[in-house]
């Protein structure tokens, strides 16, 4: 009984570690391909253009609306709380840290994951089940260059650009709330933000958004690739992919908080 229990634990541990290293290997292969100029053939560039359109441009109306609605409310609450606790002097740094370092990249990554991550996971899983991936392999078409790289790069570009858009929208909403709560005029608000913002904040926004964009596409692709050959396996693949993706997003968020606190 005890021996069986130890065997089960051992099996689970070995399988978890081997899948982790397999995923790590896949990630490194994708990164190597990303650095190779030969990967950027005309077909890849065409797919990349389309993916950027689907991921970043198609979402703009919904994204802007959500940013105005939720972003304004959240920044309003942050400003109201800061005022209540007498932190008016620190309001610039509070807004910048909250909006640029934390909220914009995370919110954008969540939205892109829900919209494009699921779509990519399903697409790759369906292609896998329909043997379309095998057809591409038979024609010696590199799946990483043609299918995965455009999606990963578009994810990175989309999350970075939409995070910046989100930050701009929230900072604009922030002005309305500072005007309402503190009677602050636009020039004071502008100088407050300029004085509070540092190069570090922009670097954090950029790196974090890129990391979010990378995993937002990489994990659904990997999950789609692991789908077994049955249509019933597609929902399971999407479910597993999304769970892993959300764990990865939270992991990056926590890791970035830890690194910033050092």
């Amino acid at each position: 009984m005890v021996l069986r229990f130890i065997e089960v634990i051992g099996d689970k541990t070995i399988s978890t570690i081997s899948s982790f290293f397999e995923a790590l290997k896949f990630t490194s292969i994708c990164l190597i391909h990303m650095a190779k100029p030969a990967s950027y053939n005309p077909a890849m560039r065409m797919v990349l253009t389309k993916q950027i359109y689907f991921t970043a441009v198609g979402i703009i109306p919904l994204f802007t609306t959500m940013a105005v609605l939720f972003g304004s409310v959240i920044i309003g609450v942050v400003i109201a709380l800061a005022t209540e606790y007498g932190l008016q002097d620190e309001i610039g740094s509070i807004i910048i840290t909250f909006v640029i370092d934390e909220f914009s990249p995370f919110f954008t990554a969540l939205l892109i994951s829900l919209r494009s991550g699921t779509a990519v996971n399903t697409e790759i899983a369906v292609m896998n089940v329909n043997q379309e991936l095998n057809t591409l392999r038979q024609y010696n078409i590199d799946l990483i260059d043609y299918l995965f790289l455009p999606r990963i790069i578009s994810g990175m570009i989309s999350v970075v650009s939409l995070s910046i858009l989100f930050a701009v929208i929230i900072l604009s909403s922030g002005y309305l709330f500072t005007l309402f709560y503190m009677n602050m005029d636009f020039h004071t608000y502008k100088y407050l933000l300029i004085n509070a913002i540092e190069v570090k904040d922009l670097v954090v926004l950029l790196l974090k958004s890129m990391a979010f964009g990378f995993v937002t596409m990489l994990i659904p692709i990997y999950s789609g690739l692991k789908t077994t050959s049955a249509y019933t396996a597609i929902p399971i693949s999407v479910l597993n992919g999304m769970v892993k993706l959300f764990v990865a997003l939270f992991f990056i968020e926590v890791l970035s908080l830890l690194l910033q606190s050092l």
Partner: protein, 117 residues
């Protein structure tokens, strides 16, 4: 369908998308299927899908193209002459090999194929 055919040359020969699609369009025109250029897979019948797969295979650098059981690939195909006519219209310079089962032998009657049993 154009993208599907053009892909091979874009990837293997780094041919610009526009030029590769022009070549694909020309090939489709030769077999009077230029109207399916912008169709998706679900908008094409089995004959059109076969033609696209065949043209795509011709775009590769391989010297032989093998067609496996064409009577299963194309619905209501009665005679191999339809396939031979496609090959002729496309002025194919590659070796075309057709693999089929003996039960379909009747469909190859009076055809110009070299039959090897």
């Amino acid at each position: 369908m154009l993208e599907n055919i053009a892909l091979i040359k874009e990837v293997h020969e780094h041919m610009p998308t526009k030029k590769a699609q022009e070549e694909a369009k020309e090939s489709l025109k030769k077999i009077e299927l230029e109207n399916i250029g912008l169709n998706r897979l679900n908008q094409c019948n089995s004959y059109e899908v076969f033609c696209v797969c065949f043209i795509r295979a011709l775009m590769t650098k391989e010297s032989d193209v093998i067609i496996v059981t064409p009577f299963h690939l194309i619905d209501n195909l009665r005679n191999i002459k339809t396939i031979i006519s496609i090959v002729e219209k496309l002025q194919v310079k590659k070796n075309i090999l057709i693999l089929d089962t003996i039960s379909n032998e009747i469909h190859y009657k009076d055809s110009s194929c070299n039959i090897v049993k």
